[in-house]
């Protein structure tokens, strides 16, 4: 499999300035062409699920409706992720013009940013930026206005359909899919929901061109990505790296020399033990991440790590569906019981089956991904759970 050396990139935070000019250019070009370029660029969503962005826009463009919407998902609730905040602080114009570009391509005239409740302090600056841009869009003849909505503080509201429910003033419960938001989203109109970073990438592609963009990353994971690095790292913070590196290279660069495992992708991601660092590629062909990379050294108890994740999930599940609501509680109580010797260690096998059931039967990505951390930690650190 193709791997890339770890290499820094500096595209996302490059100073702003050219956005309106780029947008203006795109207004005079054929939208179908840009869709093809976007698909060809291989850009996949940066919010975690990794859906081809070009395809999403294509579906929304093809949907017939009197009104469509563009929503920027800035709910950033995955534990250990803080890259969207950084983008919104430093290059908000790139995000907003990306949304406007999307609006132009798919035929939407209204864009909303759904801002995580904890990021409200950013709102005044963002609003000013949006107001300026709304004027500038008008000047260049683009009918598109930006507005802001606030999250409710629930992790699940980052899931796109729960986000939409929440924007409609309802309880943030994920919807049944299909229909997907591209055909029936906000107010049941076709809606593109993309991550903050995804919108920035679309602007980068329109600036440097899809051919240049494609040079970055691997076949399955094109481009670069922001990583939020935390835990037992020598360097913490946000780093922009080319996709497709091996986890070994990553740990070499960021670990403290005593790394025993890395949780790739936050609570909903996978825990990779040292013995698998070499073979693990960070990207869609290996382990994808919305950006969170949490490094654990040998002083960490993996029981506590897992306990924290499960505790997080049993709180943050919206609670509507059985596998997730009850499953999370059972997994948590289950490892506690095994730890306390109230249950035999073989009960962990029963729980592995449960985690599997949750993965394939929960209603949304939250419940479906609880098993990721659970299975990968039990498989690799079983003795730490039992003893």
């Amino acid at each position: 499999m193709e791997t890339k050396q770890l290499s820094r990139v500096d595209l996302i935070f490059k100073p702003e300035g050219k956005e309106i000019e780029l947008l203006k250019k795109k207004l005079n070009e054929d939208g179908d062409d840009f869709i093809l370029e976007l698909i060809d660029s291989g850009l996949k969503g940066r919010g975690g699920a990794g859906f081809l962005t070009g395809l999403k826009w294509k579906l929304a463009r093809e949907a017939k409706a009197d009104q469509k919407y563009v929503i920027c998902n800035a709910d950033e609730g995955e534990p250990g992720t803080f890259k969207d905040r950084e983008i919104l602080e430093r290059v908000p114009r790139k995000v907003f013009t990306g949304m406007a570009l999307c609006g132009h391509i798919v035929g939407a005239t209204k864009g909303y940013i759904y801002l995580r409740a904890e990021y409200k302090y950013l709102a005044p600056k963002l609003k000013k930026c949006m107001a300026d841009l709304n004027d500038e869009f008008k000047k260049i003849g683009l009918e598109f206005t930006l507005d802001i909505r606030y999250g409710s503080g629930a992790y699940v509201c980052g899931e796109e359909t729960a986000l939409i429910e929440s924007m409609e003033g309802k309880r943030g419960e994920p919807r049944n899919k299909p229909p997907f938001p591209v055909t029936e989203g906000y107010l049941n109109k076709p809606t593109v929901v993309n991550n903050v970073e995804t919108f920035v990438n679309t602007m980068i592609i329109s600036e440097i061109g899809f051919k240049e963009y494609k040079k970055l990353g691997t076949d399955h994971s094109r481009g670069m990505k922001l990583f939020s690095i935390s835990g037992d790292a020598v360097k913490e913070g946000i780093f922009e790296l080319e996709l497709g590196m091996s986890l070994a290279d990553f740990v070499e660069e960021f670990g403290d020399g005593d790394t025993k495992a890395v949780q790739v992708g936050g609570a909903s991601g996978f825990c990779v033990p040292r013995k698998k660092f070499k073979e693990t590629i960070i990207g869609f062909e290996g382990i994808p991440t919305g950006g969170s990379m949490k490094i654990f050294n040998s002083s960490r108890s993996m029981y506590n790590v897992l306990h924290n994740y499960l505790d997080f999930f049993q709180e943050e599940s919206c609670g509507q569906c059985t596998p997730c609501r009850v499953g999370c509680q059972q997994l948590l109580l289950g490892i506690e019981a095994v730890k306390r010797r109230e249950r035999p260690s073989s009960y962990l096998d029963e729980l592995m089956k449960l985690a599997d059931t949750m993965k394939i039967s929960a209603k949304c990505g939250l419940g479906q991904s609880v098993g990721n951390a659970f299975v990968s930690i039990i498989e690799n650190f079983r003795e730490e759970i039992v003893y």
């Binding site: 629930a154 699940v156 309880r171 419960e173 049944n176 299909p178 999930f313 049993q314 709180e315 943050e316 599940s317 919206c318 609670g319 509507q320 569906c321 059985t322 596998p323 609501r325 009850v326 499953g327 999370c328 509680q329 059972q330 109580l333 289950g334 019981a337 029963e350 089956k353 449960l354 059931t357 993965k359 394939i360 039967s361 929960a362 209603k363 479906q368």
Partner: protein, 593 residues
């Protein structure tokens, strides 16, 4: 048409069909819990999952439309394993004390647990870790959170069918539960006691407050005269609980069973339904005269019916400013209660304090109504106990009565006679039809101009219906009504009533007379009726009601000889002094929160 296979059997179904419905076309039942025909799709219980060949994740069959070339497996190993796990998860969160549970024997969760033989409870019992509450504050409804599987059928019922929103989901994660506003006791919130949520709750989490023991005790008490009345809709549904097909009329067997249970007199609410028509019809004509002849601005029109206590509590909370529009007539149950402890007591020479008045109702709201302080005009609580159709079925079973084999019997002669007009009170549009049959004839001296007295425009299951009757060639004393087009509207299900009243409030609607029934389908779909319910079941019950009407010798309320008799002997005339005292009431504004 979409082509697919289910368990390797090819079929083609219409686009938009769900996998669940497609499987049904092959007579394949996929288990469901949150799904209910009357409600929007929730897709939250996940017991209906099926496998689509080639896909990692299972699909919720209730929520997934078919797609071309889908290959569905409803009973693969993967499906069975997941489904079993899910049922076990539900049970781990559930207070499974079936033998003590009111829903024992008619519980969807129990049936499913039985089907899957989930004997070995592998997961941790969560019940001791939760602070579940049992709410018995309401005279109509019991809510036991330890029995709740969070399917949200009740929430959807209350919001979609009733527009009340008394129940909602509160909290998230492991604390998620079904709650009332601020978790207040049910009797302190907007709940109308309609019981529609009970009819759709798959478990014992929502059930009626039952008064079975109290009624047995009264029957066993030799000093008491226990009089029972039965509402029109009971007779077309009771059979469902006792071995008959849906839509079977069991009036005669019901009467026989009530006698065998030991009720001292077996009477018919239909009698006071006829009386209601006399009172309400007169009230409507009086209001029309004041408005049309006297030009009295204080008269409020349209007048709405008042026989559905769920509707009454709804309007008290939601449109208190429209209360003057509501007829002052008590419901037939309460008219009956007031008369049993006065007129009937006199005639039978029984001291009213020794009468225990019991009513068998398709309704849970009537339990609340009977306990309203306004309902004591006889000097006592007019109706002592209200049992639902379901509770009566339980008593009949307890007494070991072989219902299927009973010979038909007739109601007692006195306050037991009624007409077809009274029977149709049990269906949406029935009060309207009965009122029109009488009012039209009163005013014109002729029968309503509909074939065989069947006023079909007011029938059916459309949520809001309109009809109008032009009154022509009237008798001299009603000359003010000559040529008037009487405009009527009908709503059933409180969400529909909500729409209609919004139109009345805004002045967009100019009707004279409105019939509202709180429950979908009218009383035949009442919150006390046999479970399950569905559009098909309600249609069959409606058919039975109209068949009962056609089969009766008298079909117009004013023809009921007992009604004539009670006016001569006791009440005087409709809206007279005595009527006013016993048969009419007033309402109170209540807050929404």
């Amino acid at each position: 048409m979409i082509n697919l296979t289910i368990n390797n059997i090819p079929l083609s179904v219409e686009e938009g069909t769900t996998v669940l419905d497609a499987a049904r076309q092959l007579n394949l039942r996929i288990p469901t819990l949150c799904y209910h025909e009357d409600l929007c799709i929730a897709g939250n219980c996940r017991v209906c999952v099926v496998e689509q060949v080639g896909m990692r994740n299972l699909l919720a069959s209730c929520a997934t439309p078919v797609r071309e070339n889908m290959q569905i497996l409803t009973n693969s190993m993967k499906v069975r394993q997941a489904r079993k796990n899910i049922i076990e998860l539900l049970l781990s969160e559930h207070n499974s004390d079936c033998t003590k549970c009111y829903k024992n024997g008619n519980c969807e969760l129990q049936t499913m647990a039985n089907e899957y033989r989930t004997g070995n409870h592998i997961y941790t019992d969560l019940i001791p870790l939760k602070h579940n509450k049992v709410d018995v504050s309401s005279p109509s409804i019991m809510k036991d959170d330890s029995k709740c599987i969070r399917c949200q059928r009740c929430v959807r019922t209350c919001a979609e069918l009733q527009g009340v929103n008394a129940l909602a989901v509160a909290h998230k994660g492991h604390e998620m539960k079904i709650s009332s506003f601020y978790d207040k006791p049910m009797h302190e919130v907007v709940c109308t006691n309609c019981g529609q949520c009970i009819n759709r709750c798959p478990t014992g989490a929502l059930v009626e407050r039952n008064y079975i023991e109290e009624v047995w005790n009264a029957i066993y008490d030799p000093t008491k005269h226990v009089a029972v009345q039965t509402a029109p809709a009971v007779r077309v549904a009771l059979g469902e609980e006792l071995g008959f097909e849906v839509g079977e009329r069991v009036t005669g067997k019901m009467v026989a069973a009530l006698r065998r249970l030991g009720f001292n007199s077996v009477l018919d609410t239909d009698f006071t339904a006829d009386l209601t028509i006399m009172e309400e019809g007169t009230e409507l004509l009086t209001r029309l005269k004041k408005a049309l002849v006297d030009k009295d601005q204080s008269v409020t029109l349209p007048m709405t019916t008042s026989c559905s206590p769920g509707w009454i509590k709804f309007i008290e909370h939601t449109y208190p400013n429209l209360l003057p529009n509501v007829s002052t007539c008590k419901s037939p149950q309460q008219m009956f209660g007031a008369l049993v402890k006065t007129y009937y007591a006199q005639k039978k020479n029984i001291n009213p304090k020794d009468i225990v008045s019991v009513s068998i109702m398709p309704c849970t709201a009537k339990k609340f109504e009977a306990q309203r302080p306004e309902m004591r005009d006889s000097g006592y609580q007019d109706v002592d106990y209200v049992l639902t159709t379901r509770e009566l079925a339980i008593m009949i079973k307890q007494a070991g009565i072989e219902f299927l084999k009973l010979e038909d019997e007739k109601f007692d002669r006195f306050m037991g006679d009624s007409t077809g007009a009274a029977v149709i009170f049990g269906a949406t549009g029935g009060v309207m039809e009965a009122a029109l049959r009488t009012a039209y004839e009163l005013v014109t001296g002729r029968e309503v101009p509909f074939e065989n007295l069947n006023i079909t425009p007011v029938r059916g299951m459309e949520g809001v219906r309109e009809a109008s009757v032009t009154i022509a060639n009237v008798l001299p004393e009603w000359s003010f009504l000559e040529g008037v087009e009487l405009k009527c509207a009908i709503a059933h299900g409180l969400a529909n009533a909500h729409k209609l009243m919004a139109a009345v409030e805004s002045g967009d609607a100019n009707y004279h007379f409105i019939e509202v029934m709180a429950c979908p389908g009218g009383c035949l779909g009442g919150g006390g009726q046999p479970i399950p319910t569905s559009p098909e079941i309600r249609n069959k019950r409606a058919k039975a009601i109209y068949a009962e009407d056609e089969g009766l010798p008298m079909r117009k309320s004013h023809e009921n000889p007992e009604v004539t008799q009670i006016y001569e002997e006791f009440l005087g005339h409709p809206l007279g002094h005595k009527s006013h005292e016993l048969l009419h009431t007033h309402y109170r504004a209540r807050k929404r929160y």
